[in-house]
Each structure stands twice: as C-alpha cells, then as structure tokens.
C-alpha cells in the first residue's frame, strides 16, 4: 500500500543535535533526515533519548548544539508556538487532553491556529467568526469521520477508555493539518485490537493526507510493519538508520536491545 505513495525530498533535517540537562547528556551529535510523506520511526531502549528528540523537534527543549532545518528554514531552537504555526503537530506519551471538555471541543482546539477572527468578533459571533467556526467545524467533522469516533462526539474525554483518548489526541493533532506529525508512543498501553486500529489509522493518515509522520514506538512488530525508515538511538547516540531490514540485521542494534557480553 505504501509503494504508490511517492516519497519526496527532505522535509526535516536534524544535524548534529546535542542536548544535555546539566551533566546528563540526553542527545549527542544526533543527525538524521525525514523525507516528505514518509513514516519515520525513532526506536531505542528506555532512556535512549527518543522523547527528548521529539521535544527538540517541536521546540519544547532547546538543544545546546546543532541545527534543525524544517522546510528549508534552519533553526537552532524554537518555541512550541513557532513549531505549531510552521506545521508541526504532536501527540503525547501521557495523554494531554482537556478531560472535562467533549471530544468535539478538544478536537476544535486543534484548529485554534487557523482562526483569524478577533476576540471581539468571536465574543459577539459576527462576520468572520461565524464563517470560520462553521468552516472549522466541517474540517473537524471530517476528521471525526476519518477516525471513526462519531459515537463519542459529545462525550467528555475524561470518561473515555484509554485507547479512545489516544485516538482523540491523534484527531486533535490532525485538526491542525500538520505537514509533520510527531507521535510519542501512539500504541503504548493498548490491547492488540486497539493497536491494529491505530496502525490502520496511521497508515491511512499517511496515505490519504500525505502527512509526514515521525513516531516513537516500543512494539517492534508495529515499527517494522508500518515504517519506511527507522532511526535507532542508544544512550543519546544514533546507532542505526535505515529500512526495517537493515535495522534487523544491524549488530549494534541487536546488541543494544539484547545486551552484549563484555
């Protein structure tokens, strides 16, 4: 299925990024690239620096050294607002939704950056505000349909099962119509059926919208099945990079995962 989707040029270039928290080196000279329309995985044992890498890409952390080039614009560091407005959206390892708000409202927040109407216009519901709201709602409904969550449209997120909350979070990220989607362990804590559903949604998002996806995942089966290329981190260093088959045969990766006799 992935064969017909044409993978384009480089959309994100991570060049020699190093990140340290005091004496702890989270990332050391990590470089890799992400091409347009591909699904790229970052894997590695616990504490390898995977989430830190994601946080660097969307501006939560500022690396001490290195550059990140997104859509041709090189930067040393950015804040999450700039990342979001330049087309990077993400989901979190520990779900970060508004628990008391309905699924619909949560996904609508993903459209926030697309709304141009002023506070006053929105308050008295005139002109642009009304038009924008209808427009955005139509987009959100398309995403609700896409992720098959019509039945929980009006349900407060806090009352949903974990697997569904994960799906709502994906919906909110998609609502921003990102060029680059970062998924932090989208399948953690899910049962087999939920994992299969999530895999299908990730592949469908990639195929239908052409969204470039970078994901962190522990389930090797999932990663090998759905990703085009894989970056392997261990102790903050890149130890492997390539297609699933190359990674499977990479001795450094095998050592990192299985341990090695010294």
């Amino acid at each position: 299925m992935t064969a017909a989707r044409s993978i384009g040029g480089t959309i994100l270039e991570v060049d020699a990024v190093s990140l340290a928290f005091g004496g702890v080196k989270a990332l050391t000279e990590v470089s890799f690239d992400v091409r347009e329309h591909e699904i790229r995985a970052i894997i590695g044992p616990n504490g390898a620096g995977k989430s830190s890498m994601l946080n660097v890409i969307n501006g939560v952390y500022r690396p001490q050294r290195g550059t990140i080039t997104f859509r041709g614009v090189p930067r040393h560091g950015m804040n999450p607002y700039d990342a979001a407005s330049s087309g990077i959206a993400r989901t979190f390892q520990n779900i970060a939704l508004f628990k008391g708000m309905s699924v619909l409202d949560n996904i609508m927040t993903g459209r926030n950056l697309r709304m141009k109407a002023s506070f006053l216009e929105q308050a008295i519901w005139i002109g642009r505000a009304r038009r924008e709201e209808l427009d955005n709602r139509a987009r959100v409904e398309a995403i609700i349909d896409f992720l098959e969550i019509q039945h929980i449209r009006r349900t407060p997120v806090g009352r949903l099962a974990y697997g569904l909350q994960k799906r709502v979070e994906l919906a909110r990220a998609l609502a921003a119509e990102p060029a680059l989607l970062l998924l932090d362990e989208p399948m953690a804590g899910m049962n087999v059926e939920e994992k299969q559903d999530m895999c299908r949604f990730i592949l469908d998002v990639n195929a239908e919208f052409g969204t470039t996806i970078v994901l962190i995942e522990h389930d090797m089966g999932v990663v090998m099945d759905i990703c085009d290329r894989i970056v392997v981190l261990d102790y903050g260093r890149k130890i492997g990079d390539g297609a699933a088959d190359e990674i499977r045969g990479n001795q450094a990766v095998i050592d990192a995962y299985l341990g090695v006799a010294h």
Binding site: A3, A4, A138, Q150, H151, E193, A207, E208
Partner: protein
C-alpha cells in the same frame, strides 16, 4: 394501489413523479443529516443501473451487496432490479471464508460493497471465487491504491455517459422488468446445514409489503431508522419493500455505534427491532436509573407501578377506572413521555419485534409506557409476512392473526403451513429443497410447531423438528425452555439438551453486561468473561434463575418432566464466528452438542467438574485456545403441579 407498477424499480420511478420532493432517504454524514428526495434517488438509481450495464451487468446476473445500511447500497438493490438482475445482500460481519460460500453458490460476478474492510474480504475470498470480476465500493477511504476495483463515483460517471450515448436504453430496460422476475435473493441463516438462497419475485415481496403497509396504515409521512443487517429478511421488508411501496423515509445511521443518538434525533414513527435490542435499551435504562437520586428513583418506581397496572389496557382501549386514567396521565407527564423521548420513541406509532421470543416483563414494560409494541411472524421464505398482531389485540404469547391474503393452517403433525402470494419462488439451485418445503397443494411448510388459540391468534411453540420427547415419553420443547431462561437479564444464551434422554440439562451463557454490573455492585472482582462465568456467586445466581424456570415448568403438567436437572455455565460466549450461533443469533444446538460433547457427557454422566479446551476465532481471523474447568450444578426439580395436587 391497484394501478401502481408491479415492480420495485417501477414504483421508485412512480414516486419520483408523484412525490418528487418528498424525502426518500436520509443519512447522517459528517454530523449532518443529508437528504435525498425521491427524484434524486431515482436519478442515482438510473445512473447506477446504466453504470452497471456499461460494465456488462445483464438480466439474471447476481449483484452481491455487502455493508452497513448505506443509502447507496439500498439504491443498488433498485438499480440491479431495473436491469432484471438479482441483488444478493450478504451479512457484512461475516468473515471472508463465509463470503466465499455465498459468492460461489450465487456465482457472483459483480459486487457493490461499503468500504475497504469489505473490499479486503472480497479480495481475500477472490482466489476461491473464480466468477467474481467486478468490485464497486462506496467509501473510498484507504482504497486509493487498490487495482481492479471501481469507485461508486466512477460507476455513476460511466453510467451517465452510457445513458447519454444510449438514450432509450434505461427506459426500455425498466419497461422490460416483469412482476414475476426474481427481485431479491436472501440467504437463510442456516440453523441446520448450509445457507440456502431464497428467491422472491417482485410480486411476492410487493404483496407482503402492500399487505403490511395497509394493515398498519403506513404512508409517505412515516419515517424509520434502517439499522438492521441488510441481508436479513426483516430489514428487507421494513427498509426496502415497505419503503418503496409506502414511499416513506428511511434514515441511515451515522455508524453502528451511534444508533441510539440517531434514533433520538430522527424520532421514527415506525420502529422495528429484534427482542435483544429492546432488552439492551431497558438494561441501559435500568442501570442509569439505579444511579439516579433517591427522589427520581422513587418517582420512577411508583409511576411504573401505575403503568404496569393500567398502561397496556389504556393502550388497547379497554375500560380503565377514572382514577387510574388520571394517575396514568400524571405519570405520562412526569415519567413515561420523558422516557419515550430518551428511548427515541416519542413519535413511534407502531413498533414491531420478531425473530425471537420476547420476555414477558420486557414486552409489558414497553407497552405500559405507551409504546405500541407488537409481534409478527414470518420467515425468509414468506417475505417475513405470515401473521401480524392487530392494534387492540396484542398478546405476549401469540404472533397474531393471519395477515391479509395469507392462509395459515396447522398440519396434523402440528407444523404450521402457509399459502399466499408472498411465498418464495424457489431455493436457488435446490429443486429438492423447494419440492420438500412446498407441498402439492401449494402450502409452504414453515418447520415451526404451533397452534391457534380460541382468539384465532397463532402461537408458535418451537421448531417442529426440535420438539421431541424425553425417554419417559413427555413432550420436550427445547426452545421454549431456552427462551424462559433467556428472559432473565443475566442469561444471554441457553442451550437445552434432552431429546431421547431421561432428563433435561442445559448450558448457560452469562450476559457480560448485566452480570458484570451485578458483580460490581457486590464488589466481586473479576478479570474477564471466563473468570466471571466461573465465580461460585455467579453460579448461584444462575441456579436461582434455573429454579424459577423449573417452578414455571412444574406448573404446566405437560412440561413438568422437562425441568432442568443439571446445568453448567460456559466459559466462553457462544459466537457466530465460531459457528455456534447463526448470523441472526439463533443457537445451532446440534453443532454445539457435537463441539462440546465432553460437557454434554459430563452433564449426563454425573460428573461434578469437567475440563474443556475450546478453539476460538478472533475477529481478525486468528485462532486461540481457551481452557477451563467447569463446575456442574445439580438442581432439585419441583414436584409437578398435578403430582402435588
């Protein structure tokens, strides 16, 4: 109605002329109800039919239809019929292997399906189905890169081009359709043996629909929710035949999970559901009421007590004391009307249930709060049209009076036999089965055992071949016992054994929802289905239910000997995917007896515990093994009423 066209497509185009702007179909899509008028439906049907014709679909060919209730799939039925082809709706939740049987039996070359899930199943089945050449899909999602499949849009575009190039084609095709052409082929659920294709003519199904439409005075102003499997004869009668004959509006839900919400938004005037749907609704309601405040609970209980006393009588127009009428009117304002609103039944004029026996409490509940719930009787072979309950004479234990233009008799051996215009033309490629079920006098043998009461209404006891005798000679009707057990909300399925044996024994399936809730209220921890089913407390609960059923059986001298002596609670849910139930959820008793032979032997062999390993199929087609040690419970039978007297 006599001058109305004698075929379904003829009638669709007649509506497009007579009531062009009346809504024919609605579907909730992207959160908004979309409407198609009869004129628009006719235009879509025309384009689809021309599209199919341009792809080589000809008279006599079969068009497989697979998916949830989608407007385009209903229209596809008409499009195929307009070309004198035969639509074959299939159960959308069946796995690919089951598809293959029907596809091969019907030599299907053309299929129109809902989405990627169904396309994948057809592709999986394709190597074993050499005839299958064309697959058309409705929802393009995920299908972008598939080869050899056609989108609905493409089909319709081709159709419009074909129509423009061959101006007289469609009208000529439509005019060529005869009332005696086969209009639909529906497969039986196959309680025993392989499913058979039941072929019904336009004439038969239109007769059934006209009879029932007149019986309940349905008109274009009515509105229904179409949410039952399209392959089931019940849905075909209610959502297609009656729709086309009466010209009312069908509403397709947004998804299978949103039916409750959609029901409330639409507020249908005419409603049809199998008993389990009514049961689920009541269970949800009861659970929610238990969480309500004390005042509300008290109000609910007292109002329902009044409703139980006089609600059904008021609905039937019987004399009721004035005080009760006043109390009922107050109850209506406070509880019944809001309740009907929550259930989405505020506007329901006529509601039907059929397909299985309905529990007395359940039936009484809906009627007492003012919902005109009735029963009918029919089968795939009779267009689901044999007996109907008239307003004012609704009873729990009957299935009604013979429907207009239908002759119903009880044969000497107790089997119900019927004759009328709604009978099947034939079983597809099974002249032997056709000859076996329709006798020389033209009566169809339903296979059901029943009798007429003094009120002229028919009562069905059981499947005729299931009615047997215990070794001691007493009459034994397994279905009757199973239904009594299943009326308890805690029991989802029951399988009784006893034909030719000394005593009756039974397998029970707990209802995960209500037993789970029951356990929660008692702080009983459990990890899953098998664990919950194995709890001694749950077995005790089941024993209470069995004892109550035994008490009822003991009260009937004819059936006192068939009390349940021993039972066990199964460790897994009986499932159509494991062939234990049919797709319409009827138990396949013979298959189950074979599959669980060790358990049956243990029940009759006097063992107290038995170990069992069962293979289960998961939804994605993988298999696994479930093992359990099942404890067998002994129940002391009650003395029979006659013996005690």
């Amino acid at each position: 109605m006599t001058d109305a066209p004698g075929t379904f497509p003829g009638r669709v185009f007649a509506h497009a002329k007579a009531i062009p702007d009346h809504p024919a179909t609605r579907e909730k899509d992207l959160g908004i109800w979309q409407t198609w008028t009869w004129r628009e439906v006719a235009a879509e049907v025309r384009a689809m039919a021309c599209g199919l014709a341009s792809m080589g679909f000809r008279a006599g060919m079969h068009l497989a239809i697979v998916g949830d209730n989608r407007p385009r799939l209903y229209w596809a039925i008409t499009a195929a019929q307009a070309l004198r082809g035969v639509p074959v709706p299939m159960y959308q939740d069946a796995p690919a292997a089951e598809f293959a049987y029907v596809l091969n039996d019907a030599e299907v070359a053309y299929a129109i399906v809902e989405d990627q899930e169904q396309v994948d199943k057809l592709i999986e089945a394709r190597p074993g189905v050499p005839t299958l050449a064309h697959v058309i899909y409705d929802d393009p999602r995920g299908l972008r890169d598939y080869d050899g499949v056609t989108s609905y849009e493409e089909l319709v575009a081709r159709g419009r081009a074909f129509d423009a190039a061959n101006p007289g084609f469609f009208d000529a095709a439509l005019a060529a359709v005869r009332p005696d052409d086969i209009a639909i082929m529906l497969y039986t659920s196959g309680t025993t043996g392989r499913p058979k294709g039941v072929r019904q003519s336009h004439r038969a199904f239109i007769a059934a629909a006209e009879g029932s439409v007149a019986f309940d005075k349905l008109s274009p102003a009515d509105s229904i929710l179409s949410y039952l499997p399209m392959a089931w004869v019940g849905d075909h009668l209610f959502s297609y035949a009656q729709w086309v004959v009466a010209g009312f509006t069908i509403n397709c839900p947004e998804s299978g999970d949103t039916v409750m919400t959609d029901l409330r938004e639409i507020g249908p005037t005419y409603y049809f559901a199998p008993p389990r749907v009514f049961e689920n609704l009541l269970t949800q309601l009861t659970i929610r009421m238990e969480d309500a405040s004390a005042l509300k609970r008290w109000l609910y209980r007292s109002c329902l007590a009044i409703a139980r006393r006089c609600g059904a009588a008021i609905l039937d127009g019987q004399p009721v004391p004035v005080t009760d009428r006043i109390l009922y009117a107050i109850g209506n304002v406070l509880i019944y009307a809001p309740l009907r609103n929550v259930l989405g039944m505020s506007r329901v004029r006529v509601a039907y249930t059929a397909g299985a026996a309905i529990g007395p409490d359940l039936f009484r509940f809906y009627r007492s709060i003012g919902i005109n719930l009735k029963q009918f009787y029919g089968s795939t072979e009779t267009c689901a049209y044999v007996c109907l309950q008239p307003d004012g004479a609704v009873k729990l234990d009957t299935v009604g009076l013979p429907a207009p233009s239908v002759e119903v008799k009880v044969a000497d051996d107790g089997e119900v036999i019927v004759r009328g215009p709604m009978l099947l033309a034939e079983y597809y490629k099974r002249p032997d089965a056709t000859a076996e079920s329709i006798d020389a006098a033209g009566y169809f043998h339903t296979g059901d055992a029943g009798y007429f009461g003094d009120d002229g209404q028919l009562r069905i006891i059981d499947r005729a071949k299931d009615v047997g005798k215990l070794a001691g000679g007493s009459l034994y009707a397994p279905n009757y016992i199973e239904n009594k057990l299943k009326f308890f909300p805690y029991i989802k399925e029951a399988v009784a054994f006893g034909a030719g044996r000394e005593r009756v024994c039974a397998f029970l399936n707990i209802d995960m929802g209500s037993v789970g809730d029951w356990a929660e209220r008692r702080n009983l921890a459990y990890s899953g289905y098998a664990d919950l089913a194995a709890k001694p407390e749950v077995r005790a609960l089941m024993r209470e239910c069995v004892e109550k059923v035994n008490a009822e059986l003991a009260a009937d001298p004819k059936l006192a000997a068939t009390q349940v002596h021993r039972f066990l609670v199964l460790h897994k849910e009986l499932d159509p995917d494991d062939d234990e139930l049919t797709r319409t959820r009827k138990v396949r008793r013979g298959f189950i007896a074979d599959k669980y032979r060790v358990l049956v032997d243990a029940l009759y062999g006097g063992k107290a515990v038995e170990h069992i390993e069962t293979e289960v199929k998961f939804e994605d087609g993988r298999r696994g093994i479930v093992a359990a040690d099942l404890v067998i419970e002994d129940v002391a039978p009650r003395p029979s009423a006659r013996a005690a007297a």
